[in-house]
Amino acid sequence: MTEAREASRERARAEDRELLRRYHELGDAGARERLVSRHLPLVRSLARRYAGRGEPLDDIEQVGAIGLIKAIDRFELDREVSLATYATPNVVGEIKRHFRDKGWAIRVPRALQELNARISQTIDRLTSKLGRSPSVAEIAEALGSTPEEVLEALEVGSAYTALSLSAGPGGEEGEGDPLDSIGEADEGFERSEDRADLEPALGQLDPREREILRMRFEEGLPQTQIAERVGLSQMHVSRLIRKSLAAMRDELAS
């Protein structure tokens, strides 16, 4: 039984290595997608450890999946470790960074964190149901809460610490971002030395954040549509926009 399980693991590792080889050596994007799909259960398992901390599990899983993609992109074929072993700290690191960036370290009362997490889901559900953005009163009614409590919970949830622009996407200093190439092809905002522009700091952002800014301010898409496109909650998109603009402003001021 144990031998059979070990043989199965060995086969899985060998399949992973073949997919990694096809992706890194041949640029086979399908192989990359299969790798992501094969290791999503690992991401879900790791994400569950961080559930109940004021963030929807779906959002944590999305963030963890980004860590997985980065691990796949960074993996060097001559490594002796399995992809699962290599990806685990990347996924956990991405999730931790997400919580750090959200500023939960400001000791927000648990009740407000939980209300905030429920608000995120409620906004998305009501937006879908009503075909428009729900009012705070409607959100409060759906949650059995008051508008004032909802506003307060929204505010604590929107607390953030500006991302260190010298840190890599995984939080590591001086590390390049393997996902940078994703944003290059359709990066709409040009660079500028103009004091009034934020573009000089645009390149410091995560590719996903750049893409969200481009969709919001270049395409003029509402948050709801951006949320659908990138697979995040509307509230999460709002936070990323605010965080990105603040981080760019800080970068220019420094």
């Binding site: 009012s135 508008p147 301010f217 509402p222």
Partner: protein, 131 residues
Amino acid sequence: MSKPDRIALEAPLDEAFAPVVRLIVGAIAERADFGYEAMDDLQLAIERLLAEAGSLGHVSLSFEVTEGQIRANVGPLRSDALAEALQEPDDTPGKLTLGRILSTVVDSYGVEDAADGHIVIRLVKIAGPVG
């Protein structure tokens, strides 16, 4: 047409007070029956303006609430950087200026000269469709 409700406040130009301003703007938008996204847009507009306005002194904010619409005045402010930023055309393709941000998140905005070289930024935000 009913007389608009008016709310005015003065806040330190200090990042630490940004959440307080944001909370107040949210509460005003809630009274005006704004949807979440419209409220978030108005909060972002004011947040970005205050971030560009420097960190010295205080800022006055006033709001006029009519049915489904909020008019906000931010200032008077003395900020050459802010005035310069808002003079940039906001429709240049591919440029992420403060004007571009404002024109995306509010329905209209304008800059008026006040006394002593100060400026006042006026914003109008419409609530959007409600039930």
